[in-house]
Amino acid sequence: MLAYLIRRLFAAAVMLVVIVMVVFSIFFLIPKWAGVDIATSFVGKQADPSSVKAVAEKLGLNDPIYAQVWEFFKGIFVGRTYSAGGDVTNCSAPCFGYSFRSEQAIWPVLTDRFPVTLGLALGAAVLWLIFGLAAGVLSALKRGTLWDRGAMVVALAGVSLPIYFTGLLSLAVFSYGLGWLDAQYVPLEDSFTGWLGGMILPWITLAFLYAAMYARITRATMMEILGEDYIRTARAKGLRESVVIRKHAMRSTMTPILTMLGMDLGALIGGAILTETTFSLPGLGQAVLNAIKNQDLPVILGVTLITSLAVLIANLVVDVLYAVIDPRVRLA
């Protein structure tokens, strides 16, 4: 088990290095090849040559790409100091870079925005697991009935409709129209009820999409498992149907669901860009979108790393949980 974990962690670290290098290349090498002066983009309307030079110096644009990558990784462990023109900025460890647009270290920005995204992802996950699994199981058990068909039509709609559509629709109806929900984000520490009121529509919108996918996967898996020999054996032994479903069928159904959950949660923790943009939630997704608009590479890099890390950790946790859910799986 320990050896397995060490191997996976090592692979995760290698993957993170590769991701950082790819992101660096996209933002630094490609513009260079296209003949675009990146430093000029950071300076205002009246670009002064000294400011262009200083920005290049501060961002380390004159250094070779490997040196920039190395400085970035070093900063995570020992911090960094940026200096140009008599202005010295310290970025203490863990330094995930420094935004020259907002003059802020990236790590505090990420930690400030992370709870918003985490709250959104976890709240939505609870909803989509409850409704997605319930709808999927019921549909499998009542195959061909009106319930099954109705649930699958709703699920199809959920999968097909993009979030900016359902999000705007829910805002138009429940917030601007009926006025039932304010749908404006309030930090949890300011007011629990305010936070809850602001999160309900984003949760429902996000959960609608995912619940639909989970319902369809649950239904398909459950139907396949219900035809397995061991289910027939369990029934032949005289076990109650609820026990057969709960203890035998559900356990096997959960394996692919858990895999999906790991991947989805990991990706959402890196920022649910569309949901956060639609509802103006100040999370990581909104931060990365603003950063892309403003060419704020350090923020993009920071959020990309957090997303990658979240996906890798979620996958690791899922792999470990396999063994708990399904004793047939042994970690090798």
Binding site: Q46, D48, V52
Partner: protein, 597 residues
């Protein structure tokens, strides 16, 4: 397969129709307004605050003035900010020797004393400006604002290597040779080594210009001329919490999330002739969804849009239909245009440039910009209506708003013949990919030029990299960008504040260039030289008109519109007016609320 696809499309169309219906139904809940004469909800009426003051007597002291915005400022540091709304908003927490008058319309573009007791005493043939400071002017900690604080604040403009982004006019006028290195590299003990500014005592400040510049006082009214106290200067991080000299101070600021200003209790009303300081608190909430922002404005959750660049198409439609009394339709001061770099053949030939101007369908371009209300009047020349010397649509050398408004194919073909391309030519339009309206204008231009035989490709480039892509003349030439779509507004309302970077040959830069047409015209350069030496307003206006004529005669530009916006004003607002001092925005600094709740 085909049937299924059709059915899918039908489903999508039905779904879209349902959303539109829902949006319209819900939007209709707010109740209607009359066109002009105010409304049941207390709105002053359509255009009631456009160039005139609306509901001035209803402003009460107290309450929270709520701004909403889809974008944060480039910086709240007075030296670094360049966005128009930042300059407007910064008057809450920063003062200058002189500032824009707090008057509606054209009068708002005039300069009035702020920290100084009066306008400058100008001597030495316009090369010396002397100011005396008022009594009772203080920082947020109660310490007096001195002439040295003002000098230090202005010196920061020289530190472009640390504080990039803001306007650099003062640096160019006071130190054209670039001898001073800025306060952070200043070897003198007090860091006040800039020779062009003298502070004989704490109440007097003297500016000594190497060469006269008739717009110098306009430059001192810019936010970048604000005082900064040396012991409070956090250099590149100053924009996160500027130290206040105005009636409000920063309480909290989280970039991209929110900003809250509260009263600066050390500020004294009697020391400030222009600021009324009605609200107790001023807040900005930043949104990432422009439609959500507009819906919140309409719902009354916020009072006005900080950016003041008009509502989104969806919000605009709802507001015009249901809440017209809450809208103003000011001229923004911006001109949207196409410009022809002379380095790209055949645009080195004047006749080829004019063929494009005549071939364009100006009504279609105006429609692509949003039409006469949301887009603006057809642009007929390159001087914005808010700039002294402008003749507006009266000067229309190519009859763009007259006989040729739908394009003149015959005249365009004549020009093509004269430029040696009777069968037309091929070129590329460069347009920012993050501005859908600009892409729409490019497509409109492409369609109309096809009729005269000019084939156009559209290259949508990364808008965030504008200065590095179209601001690099070598890149423009390499890419063959014969037509660039852009827009420009005045930094201060004068031909210098608008046109100098666009038309003067000294402003052709290797990167960050704005003279995209690469105009090297000795007559135009000479007129700018005459302008800075002309001290009387009538003479300045005459030269501004002449410069505009020269630019238009050269056929370097195809103006699309004199831009207009539709801006929202909540029914809670009082003492509201648009001002040419801030390009048709509401004058933020004296906004009040009718009720303090």
């Amino acid at each position: 397969m085909t049937t299924q696809r059709t059915s899918g499309r039908r489903k999508q169309a039905l779904a879209a129709a349902a959303v539109v219906a829902a949006l319209l139904t819900t939007a209709a809940c707010g109740g209607g307004d009359s066109d002009n004469g105010g409304s049941k909800n207390g709105a002053a009426g359509f255009d009631a605050a456009n160039n005139k003051v609306a509901q001035a007597s209803e402003a009460k002291k107290g309450g929270e003035l709520k701004f909403a915005s889809a974008q944060d400022a480039d910086s709240w540091d007075t030296t670094r900010g360049y966005y128009g709304f930042m300059w407007n908003f910064s008057r809450y927490y920063s003062r200058q020797l002189v500032t824009n008058a707090t008057e509606p319309g054209k009068a708002g573009a005039g300069v009035t004393p702020d920290l100084a007791t009066g306008l400058a005493k100008v001597s030495d043939d316009g090369k010396t400006y002397t100011y005396t400071l008022r009594d009772g002017i203080t920082w947020e900690d109660g310490k007096p604002i001195t002439s040295k604080d003002i000098k230090y604040g202005i010196e920061r403009v020289w530190a472009q290597d640390v504080l990039s982004g803001g306007p650099t006019y003062l640096k160019e006028v006071l130190d054209p040779k670039g001898e001073y290195q800025g306060p952070y590299k200043d070897k003198s003990k007090d860091k006040l080594g800039l020779k062009a500014i003298e502070t004989p005592d704490d109440k007097t400040i003297v500016f000594k210009l190497p060469k006269a510049n008739s717009d110098f006082e306009e430059m001192l009214a810019l936010t970048s001329a604000s005082p900064v106290r040396q012991d409070k200067d956090t250099k590149s991080k100053y924009g996160l919490h500027p130290f206040s000299s105005g009636p409000y101070k920063f309480q909290s600021y989280s970039p991209g999330k929110d900003l809250v200003l509260v009263r600066n209790t050390e500020w004294k009303q009697e020391s400030d002739p222009i600021r009324k300081a009605y609200p107790d608190k001023i807040s900005i909430k930043f949104f990432s969804n422009a439609n959500d922002l507009d819906a919140r404005l309409i719902a009354g959750d916020y009072d006005l849009d900080l950016a003041q660049t008009g509502m989104s198409p969806q919000g605009r439609t709802t507001a015009l239909k249901q809440h017209k009394g809450n809208l103003d339709n000011p001229v923004s001061g911006y001109i949207r245009y196409a410009v022809f770099p002379q380095s790209v053949k055949p645009f080195d030939n004047e006749h080829c440039r004019k063929a494009v101007i005549y071939g364009a369908d100006h009504v279609s371009l105006q429609t692509a910009r949003g039409g006469p209300v949301a887009g603006g009047d057809i642009g007929t020349n390159m001087l914005p209506p808010s700039v002294p010397g402008s003749e507006g649509q009266k000067y229309d050398p190519y009859e763009m708003a007259g006989a040729n408004k739908n394009g003149n194919v015959a005249k365009a073909k004549e020009e093509l013949k004269a430029c040696g391309k009777p069968n037309g030519f091929k070129t590329t339009i460069a347009v920012r990919n993050n501005k859908p309206v600009e892409v729409a204008t490019a497509e409109s231009l492409q369609a109309s030029l096809k009729k005269v035989g000019i084939t156009v490709d559209i290259d949508q480039y990364d808008g965030a990299q504008t200065p590095g892509i179209i601001g690099s003349p070598s890149n423009v030439k390499k890419k063959g960008y014969g037509i660039i779509i852009m827009g420009w507004g005045p930094d201060f309302p004068s031909v210098q504040g608008y046109g100098l970077p666009l038309w003067h040959s000294d402003y052709i830069l290797d990167s960050g260039n704005n003279n995209y047409a690469l105009i090297k015209d000795k007559t135009i350069d000479g007129l700018f030289d005459d302008y800075v030496n002309t001290l009387d307003d009538a003479g300045k206006e005459k030269i501004a008109t002449e410069i505009n004529h020269k630019v238009m005669e050269g056929g370097y530009y195809l103006p699309f519109v004199f831009e207009k916006f539709l801006n929202w004003r909540s029914s809670r607002l009082a003492n509201v007016y648009t001002t040419d001092g801030y390009s048709g925005m509401y004058d933020f600094v004296n906004l009040g609320l009718k009720s303090t709740k």
